[in-house]
């Protein structure tokens, strides 16, 4: 599918967002805004222990409270074979605990009551007798000999290992290391964090007892995939399940998994014949739903003294919590972590990954990240900076020296990806130029003489997004295509229905622009509909920066198909041969007679009123798009920081981003995505971490303990772009939603390390809090 070479009327245009009209009026429609007649309310009782045997659950006092309709336990669900459910990685997770609880915050019982207040009152009247068990809080502990077996419910599971998975060529990598003049290694931990969209999870399940039709409004980034999981879990016929994902208050991966609350509310509605609403509270969201990262990583670079990279060896151990519940392409057990070779021409690489169960929340869902690309990018960009210091080469020069060059694309990486396109040097050069890198280095040297500590951090990241080609990518066997259905009505207005689901990314505007560009209707005449499984074609949803690479491509292709039909109709109307028609983006005209023309609106009307003989009526179609390859967005981020020598506080003075996401559809929206991602990258580097004590208590169960950046701490951003189209995407776009969370954490950490590099500091673990920097200042004698 080639990028069309013509002037784009609607690509590259910062069209104002259609969705804003309702949001600025407070007229969004989020799940908690859904109110149905006779609706009941559900609240969840969660385990206070990280690991314990349940000796008994007494719900009698709770059941007697006026207004309580029913108290649901795992025992009741087990009678309906619903006590466990499959995860998106093909593991199992408890809906409500029966035998044991395996994490703090695990769902133990649910109260369904007339009001949410009564439901919460009743939680306090449920008596659970727990027998605490030994707790495993790190993956290292989990894999020790004699560690408590967490998943003793699983037949054949004899230890806490979930997977061992390798990528690359071990022997070739060994040879590279044997030939190396120098080996530089970095051991680092990417801490557990939480995506924390501002809206928590929730649903309203409405099962009609007469028809068996289940309508479930829920916070879902992937409504079609969730419908299929519901069919598998509950044994409901899939045609009777309708998932409606209304407006979503942010997702960032947190709304990809299926959570027990959805299942219990649906089961309760089925049993009671009344709608049941469940709205999660923030603590429940933070302690029990899909977290992010928790990766222990070691990277080693084999180098020649002249700075040439010869090979990369990586080991990774991930903490998956008590269930392996990533939304993970099934063949790739550590996701796309093997993109860890990054932007560099590495002849050999070998990546060894292991995943382990612990007594923590399940998931390891990406937090604004395409299946572990974030961790990979962080490791290589941190390691490259360290290697540059050890070699005595400027970090920017060292990167440039080892980049995959523009003429090497398509480039096959040592771990098996085929990078579609790139020009890494161009992005780096633009960043350095805009930064005045040379001048800044001089300023840094001068500042050091004056006793000030400035640091410059760079990260030249490469992502792999847009999952994905069906030969390699599936979730629970369902291929990771996506879809678009386009109908043009007789009056020339259209409706576009997609298998993906926006959570703030502006799909209603962006995808209308794609169709507008192909078909000539203005974007405001194209209604974009998503998130209702009865009314949209099947798709795998929005995460991993996949919407534009997959559904966006589908939208462009189906629009072109309709344009082809429109051309036939136009030829009929103009009494000309198709070959004699020109298309200018809005109308067909006869070559050499531009006055003889039909607009797309006139043609649309004719599609229902005046067709060529034998042609089917209508102007509509559906496209399932199976991408031929992944897309590989890239860029260079640069951060300048100053460290306060008295307190260890560090402050970003400049944050500059050069992004290349291929062709930009709506630059305003693209820049909004980048700024949001930079903020979450800054947050990861500076403050966000979910910690646990030795008993598995989650420290970070509210927004006082789990810090999110406000406008006060968040720096300002300078944004720049280069454009290297994807050669295989119909409009050359690559996806951009996650680039900045992937690329920027390393740039922030590199900057803080750089400020102290002359004193021998080589690493800080995230979040880089001021106490860590303060301690380092004292260790190297630079404290004030």
């Amino acid at each position: 599918m080639a990028v069309e070479q013509r002037e784009h009327r609607w690509l590259g245009k910062s069209v104002k967002r259609k969705e804003d009209e309702r949001f600025v009026r407070g007229k969004g429609n989020y799940v908690d805004d859904v109110k149905l007649p006779g609706m009941l309310h559900m609240a969840i009782l969660r385990s206070p222990f990280a690991h314990a045997r349940i000796k008994s659950i007494d719900t009698s006092r709770a059941s007697e409270l006026p207004g309580v309709v029913v108290v649901v336990t795992g025992e009741i669900l087990a009678e309906h074979n619903l006590a466990w459910m499959p995860t998106l990685s093909g593991d199992t997770q408890a809906v409500l605990a029966t035998d044991k609880v395996r994490m703090q915050g695990q769902e133990v019982a649910c109260v369904i009551a007339e009001t949410p207040y009564i439901a919460h009152d009743a939680l306090e009247l449920i008596d659970v007798d727990y027998e605490p068990l030994p707790v495993v809080v790190t993956p290292q502990q989990a894999l020790e000999e004699g560690a408590p077996l967490i998943r003793d419910d699983k037949e054949g599971q004899e230890d806490n290992r979930i997977y061992h998975w390798e990528a690359g060529d071990a022997e070739a990598t060994e040879r590279a290391f044997a030939e190396a003049d120098k080996v530089v290694s970095l051991e680092t931990f990417y801490p557990r964090s939480h995506p924390s969209p501002l809206e928590c999870c929730g649903c309203v399940a409405d099962v009609n007892p007469a028809t068996g039709q289940a309508t479930i409004y829920m916070t879902s980034q992937a409504p079609h995939a969730h419908r299929t999981v519901f069919a598998l879990v509950a044994g409901l016929p899939e045609q009777n399940i309708r998932i409606i994902s209304p407006d979503i208050g942010g997702g960032f991966g947190n709304k990809v998994p299926v959570y027990p609350g959805y299942v219990v509310a649906t089961a309760a509605s089925l049993l009671l014949g009344r709608p049941v609403k469940w709205i999660e509270d923030r603590t429940g969201n933070l302690i029990s739903t899909g977290f992010a990262r928790d990766y222990y990583m070691t990277g080693e670079l084999a180098l020649r003294d002249d700075g040439t990279m010869l090979g990369l060896r990586v080991q990774m151990l991930s903490d998956q919590g008590y269930a392996y519940a990533d939304a993970q392409p099934s063949k790739l057990r550590a996701g796309l972590f093997h993109i860890v070779t990054g932007s560099y021409d590495l002849p050999a690489a070998h990546v060894v990954t292991d995943g382990a169960y612990t007594n923590k929340a399940p998931g390891g869902v990406a937090y604004r990240c395409s299946f572990r690309v974030t961790e990979a990018s962080f490791l290589i960009e941190r390691l490259v900076q360290k290697a540059a210091y050890e070699l005595g080469i400027d970090p920017a020069d060292f990167r440039r020296q080892n980049f995959i060059k523009a003429d090497q694309f398509p480039y096959e990486s040592a771990t098996g990806f085929v990078y579609d396109s790139g020009d890494y040097e161009k992005a780096l050069d633009l960043a350095l130029e805009q930064l005045d890198y040379k001048g800044l280095r001089e300023e840094q040297a001068k500042a050091r003489e004056e006793g000030r500590l400035l640091g410059i951090g760079i990260a030249s990241f490469t992502e792999v997004v847009g999952a994905g080609p069906s030969k390699d990518y599936d979730i629970l066997g369902i291929k990771m295509f996506d879809s678009a259905e386009l109908r043009v009505h007789p009056t020339g207005k259209a409706i576009l229905k997609l298998g993906v689901k926006s959570q703030g990314q502006g799909h209603e505007t962006t995808f209308a622009q794609i169709v507008a560009n192909e078909l000539g209707l203005p974007p405001q005449d194209i209604l974009v509909v998503e998130g209702d499984t009865d009314n949209t074609p099947y798709g795998l949803g929005t995460y991993a920066s996949r919407s534009t690479p997959t559904a966006g491509a589908a939208a462009a292709v189906i629009a072109r198909t309709l344009r082809d039909k429109a051309k036939k109709i136009a030829a009929h109307l103009l009494e000309a041969s198709e070959d004699d028609l020109d298309w200018d983006g809005e109308k067909f005209s006869v070559k050499g007679a531009p006055d003889k023309a039909k607009t797309i609106q006139e043609v649309a009307f004719a599609a229902y009123t005046d067709l060529p003989e034998g042609m089917d009526a209508g102007l509509e179609g559906v496209k399932y798009y199976d991408p031929p390859n992944m897309t590989f967005p890239f860029g260079t981020y640069a951060v300048v920081v100053e460290i306060d020598r008295g307190t260890g506080q560090w402050k970003p003075l400049r944050v500059l981003a050069v992004d290349d996401c291929g062709v930009r559809i709506n630059p305003m929206i693209v820049e909004g995505q980048i700024m949001g991602g930079l903020t979450e990258g800054f947050a990861t580097a500076a403050m966000e971490q979910i910690t646990f004590d030795e008993q598995g208590n989650c420290i970070g169960a509210n927004f006082t303990d789990y810090l999110l950046p406000t406008a006060w701490e968040t720096p300002s951003f300078e944004l720049h772009e280069t454009v290297t189209p994807s050669p295989h995407h119909p409009i050359g776009a690559k996806g951009v939603g996650e680039s900045a969370t992937v690329g920027s954490p390393a740039a922030f950490v590199n900057a803080v390390v750089d400020a102290l590099a002359h004193a021998g500091v080589r690493n800080f673990e995230m979040p880089v809090t001021s106490d860590k920097v303060w301690q380092a200042l004292h260790e190297v004698g630079l404290a004030e």
Binding site: G26, L198, I248, R282, A711
Partner: protein
């Protein structure tokens, strides 16, 4: 308890449970669902409304505490069918993405501009620092408030 609360200019005399939170009174009793709940603990500001013109977090404020007072929610921003300049500013400068924090952000901005019609970037960032946005990175929210300030000054 019997209370009288004015919301967006309309008086409501109602009997409410003493423990009913103001946010639930607005959302459930009055069906004003533009006010959102994000964190339950005053941490995120999605529930921000104006109490006699001053921003408060309605998730930790009882409805009865608003007795005799006047509340403004996002639904009260439009005047005579026209968007308030703050609403226009958020649209013009892409100051929102998922829209969940937006009502609270707009209300603290309104309070700021009434007190300080020409705030600096630093003053805007401080004024909105009790409200969390997970999507935008704040830079465009700052621009949105500046856009509104300019429009209000020109009016």
């Amino acid at each position: 308890m019997n209370v009288e609360i004015t919301v967006n200019g309309t008086g409501h005399a109602v009997d409410v449970e003493p423990r009913l939170l103001l946010v639930h009174f607005l959302r459930e009793n009055l069906a004003l669902t533009g006010t959102h709940v994000g964190c339950d603990t005053t941490g995120c500001g999605a529930c921000t409304v104006l109490l006699d013109g001053t921003p408060i977090k309605s998730c930790t404020f009882f409805a009865v505490q608003a007795n005799g007072r006047s509340i403004t929610t996002v639904e009260g921003l439009m005047q005579n069918g026209a968007l308030h300049p703050i609403q226009e500013g958020f649209k013009e400068e892409h100051g929102l993405q998922c829209g969940f924090c937006t009502p609270g952000m707009m209300l603290v901005s309104k309070a700021l501009l009434e007190e300080n019609p020409d705030p600096s970037e630093e003053e805007i960032r401080w004024a909105i620092s009790g409200n969390i946005c997970r999507c935008t990175g704040y830079q465009n929210i700052v621009k949105s408030v500046q856009w509104a300030a300019k429009k209000l000054q020109e009016a």
